[in-house]
């Protein structure tokens, strides 16, 4: 009797199959499939969604699964009795089954939405597009179920590749290929550190399993044992165990910072908006950028034992949340605002992870996936209606003409801004609450992160509703906005589904209600507390370095934190309402003067990175090239010219006269005989 878990690989393989079908269609060059190949993709993601839900239901029944599917390399390690195994495996536990449902659901909705956005719009190259989506979905799901760090890394790179391919989908225009290259290179820069981190994990623990078994624990558990002195981990660079774990954690964090677009490697994400909007929704909002955060959550047991790494995560996250939010304040394009808001929201998740709020981060990951995918799809609907004009200043008054888009977009915006009772309020509030209570107990870094996060709240609310009011309210400012292209069911359907989720997904974890009433309504908390003993919430709470302190009791702190963040969000909303919810809005951000230019030019982040590349990296590369050309190649060339020269001289001995050879042979034989005679002692 095959259990449901035996079908776990199928979740990954189904979208891969749709990828193969789409590639086959694209290669055949004929229009073999209806809808340009969308149907296999929809069928595959729907199948994966059904399987994922079945997995989640089984996991809810208390079962978990961790199995090695394929061992592709085994090698003996000097000084260790167990061989080093490189494997592909499947790990289904509460965290991964939740992520599976998110990814497959969003992927399915994006596939359906693509019918409206790509097919109905008469785009060409559709098989290529659906091949990209299929491969992306397969790789992302592979990453989610990965049971060891190396496999996670491989799929991490694959999603990066798909991101590159899909950003550059319109490769005949100048912008997308360049944006695709930038996205690829910037994330690769982070992944370079991740790769070193993977090797370091193998070298330190001899395994890269996340969960492992009783007999052979995964590396987070081994790290914990090593700190308790029960396991001898290999450390390098002369560092102590604790310091070395911090170094390894920060190396892996490099990949996370690149993929989840955290400061300072966030610059690729706004440019990635050159890709088709459904791609932005799927890859650059809901799933791929979540990969970084998911990775930290996946190996949270490893980070939890390193207070320094946690502090760095919290600080980077908090800073990014505020920093990216301010840039979103002044953007003119719809998708640019959303891109900066995505960076900012992932900053919140990192802040939560760094602050010991594992559940809060996962919760925000869940709600953000829904409301940000919704916002991107809503933006896609607007962009479609506006003939691919993304400038918000050319819109206005779309509220009455596109009611489904408007109301779902509004639900997503309220969630993003963190307005009670939409999903984003609950998750963001929990992040800030966890940061606050852990920070109050003698962790000033977290309090700093809390201040950043709190300041980002009104900023978020302001740019979100500036976007909403400029797009949907007031008078139509152009002929296109006057008469938008109607969108069909395949656009409205996904919007409606996500709209409901964005409004209601908060019920999965009503932590503040629990504190106030004592009801057990923090379902996500108990959900993540199941599964492998080493990967549960209360285990993480035991090993992380934080404890809690409150301002005048738990309930007061909950109420105070929620009131402050809600008040700030409403403040931002009110300001946006005051400035932009008028028939003829003007660019109030111009009043900021030079500050606006600074924000609009992204704090000159691109400029300084290009400067670094041109002035530091390029001369270094030139110097290395010169070294290579002169010293390395010089040595090789010298060896060859010595051989050539001596060969030219020595070949003179080959006269071609047989008698000379005979003489030489005879002479040589005689010399040998004499030599043997002298050394052998029977001559002289």
């Amino acid at each position: 009797m095959a259990g449901i878990f035996d079908f776990a690989p199928a979740i990954v393989l189904l979208p891969f199959l749709s990828f193969l079908i789409a590639v086959g269609t694209a290669l055949s060059g004929r229009d073999l499939l209806p809808k340009g190949g969308a149907i296999p993709g929809i069928a595959a993601t729907a199948g994966s969604l059904v399987l994922s839900i079945a997995m989640a239901a089984t996991v809810a029944g208390g079962e978990v699964y961790d199995a090695t599917i394929y061992t592709w390399a085994v090698g003996a390690v000097p000084g260790a009795e167990a061989p080093l195994e490189l494997t592909f495996g499947v790990l289904v536990d509460p965290l991964s089954s939740m992520m599976l449902v998110i990814v497959t659901l969003v992927a399915l909705l994006v596939h359906v939405f693509s019918l409206g956005y790509m097919n109905d719009d008469g785009q060409t190259g559709l098989p290529r597009y659906y091949a990209g989506l299929g491969l992306f979905t397969a790789s992302m799901l592979g990453f989610v179920v990965a049971d060891n760090l190396l496999m996670a890394f491989m799929f991490f790179e694959l999603v990066g590749l798909c991101s590159y391919l899909l950003i550059g989908f319109h490769f005949r225009e100048p912008g997308p290929p360049s944006a695709a290259k930038k996205a690829f290179l910037v994330t690769r820069f982070g992944d370079y550190f991740f790769l070193i981190g993977v090797v370091a994990v193998f070298a330190t623990f001899g395994t890269a399993q996340f969960a492992g078994t009783e007999a052979a624990p995964g590396f987070p558990a081994l790290a914990e044992q090593a700190l308790n002195g029960e396991f001898a981990a290999n450390t390098f660079l002369g560092l102590g165990t604790q310091a070395w774990f911090t170094v390894v954690g920060l190396l892996v964090l490099g990949g996370v910072v690149g993929k989840s677009a955290q400061f300072p490697l966030h610059t690729w994400l706004p440019d990635a908006m050159e890709g088709p909007t459904p791609v932005s929704a799927l890859i650059h909002a809901a799933t791929m950028v979540a990969a970084g955060v998911y990775l930290v959550a996946r190996m949270y047991g490893f980070y939890a034992v390193s207070p320094t790494a946690l502090g760095v995560i919290a600080l980077v996250g908090g800073f990014t949340a505020l920093f990216a939010g301010t840039m979103g304040l002044v953007k003119r394009e719809l998708k640019q605002v959303l891109a900066y808001s995505t960076i900012s929201q992932y900053g919140y998740m990192m802040l939560a992870l760094g602050a010991g709020g594992y559940v809060a981060a996962t919760f925000h990951l869940l709600t953000h996936a829904f409301f940000k995918a919704l916002l991107f799809l809503g933006a896609g609907s607007v962009i479609l209606a506006m003939h691919h004009n993304e400038n918000m200043w050319d819109m206005g008054g779309l509220k009455d003409k596109m009611p489904v888009t408007y109301y779902s977009f509004l639900a997503g915006s309220l969630a993003l801004a963190g307005i009670f009772p939409f999903a984003g309020f609950w998750s963001k509030d929990e992040i800030l609450f966890e940061t606050l209570i852990h920070g109050l107990d003698g962790a000033p870094l977290l309090l700093l992160g809390y201040v950043f996060g709190l300041l980002a709240v009104p900023v978020t609310a302001f740019y979100t509703f500036r976007m909403v009011f400029l797009t949907f309210h007031g008078e139509a400012r152009t002929a296109e906005a006057e008469d938008p292209v109607p969108v069909r069911w395949n656009v409205k359907g996904p919007l409606a589904v996500l709209g409901v989720l964005a409004a209601g997904a908060g019920v999965v974890n009503l932590a503040p209600v629990k504190y106030l009433t004592g009801l057990e309504v923090d379902f996500l908390h108990s959900w993540l507390d199941g599964g492998f003993t080493n990967l549960t919430v209360h285990h993480y709470a035991e090993i992380d370095p934080y404890s809690s302190a409150y301002i005048g009791g738990e309930v007061t702190t909950v109420l105070l934190g929620a009131a402050v963040s809600l008040g700030l969000a409403l403040l931002g909303l009110a300001l946006a309402y005051r400035l932009y919810a008028v028939p003829e809005p003007v660019e109030h951000t111009d009043k900021l003067g030079a500050a606006k230019d600074l924000l609009y030019d992204n704090y000159y982040q691109d400029e300084y990175q290009v400067y670094l590349a041109n002035r530091v990296v390029l001369p270094l590369a030139r110097a290395a090239d010169t070294f290579d050309q002169s010293v390395v190649d010089g040595t090789v060339n010298a060896v060859s010219s010595v051989s050539l020269f001596s060969g030219r001289r020595v070949r003179r001995i080959q006269t071609g006269v047989v008698s000379n050879y005979a003489a030489l042979v005879t002479l040589g034989l005689t010399v040998l005989l004499v030599l043997f005679g002298v050394l052998g002692g029977w001559l002289l």
Partner: protein, 101 residues
């Protein structure tokens, strides 16, 4: 009744040296071939002599093989000399130096 072993060795060494001398001093390819035959036969004398001395026929059998080998070698050698003549109108071995560097 038989000569002492040293006699065979001296004979064999003498024949061998004659062969080497011929090889080093002559230019005619046919004389080359003959000199090589002399050297081979010097080895044969040794084989037979030691075989007789030890009362073991292995050496004598082996000398038969050597003779067959010598015959084959002569066949090839004559063939080479014929080709040499065809190409250079001469069988002087010092003339055929076109294959060197």
């Amino acid at each position: 009744m038989f000569a002492p072993p040293e006699a065979y060795l001296v004979l064999s060494a003498a024949v061998f040296c004659i062969g080497v001398f011929g090889l080093l001093t002559r230019k005619n390819a046919l004389l080359f071939l003959m000199s090589v035959e002399l050297m081979l036969n010097a080895a044969n004398i040794n084989l037979v002599a030691f075989s007789f001395y030890w009362g073991n026929v292995t050496g004598q059998t082996f000398s038969l093989f050597t003779m067959a080998l010598a015959a084959a070698e002569v066949a090839i050698g004559i063939g080479i000399i014929l080709v040499l003549y065809r190409n250079f109108k001469d069988i002087d071995v010092t003339e055929a130096t076109t294959m060197r560097w």
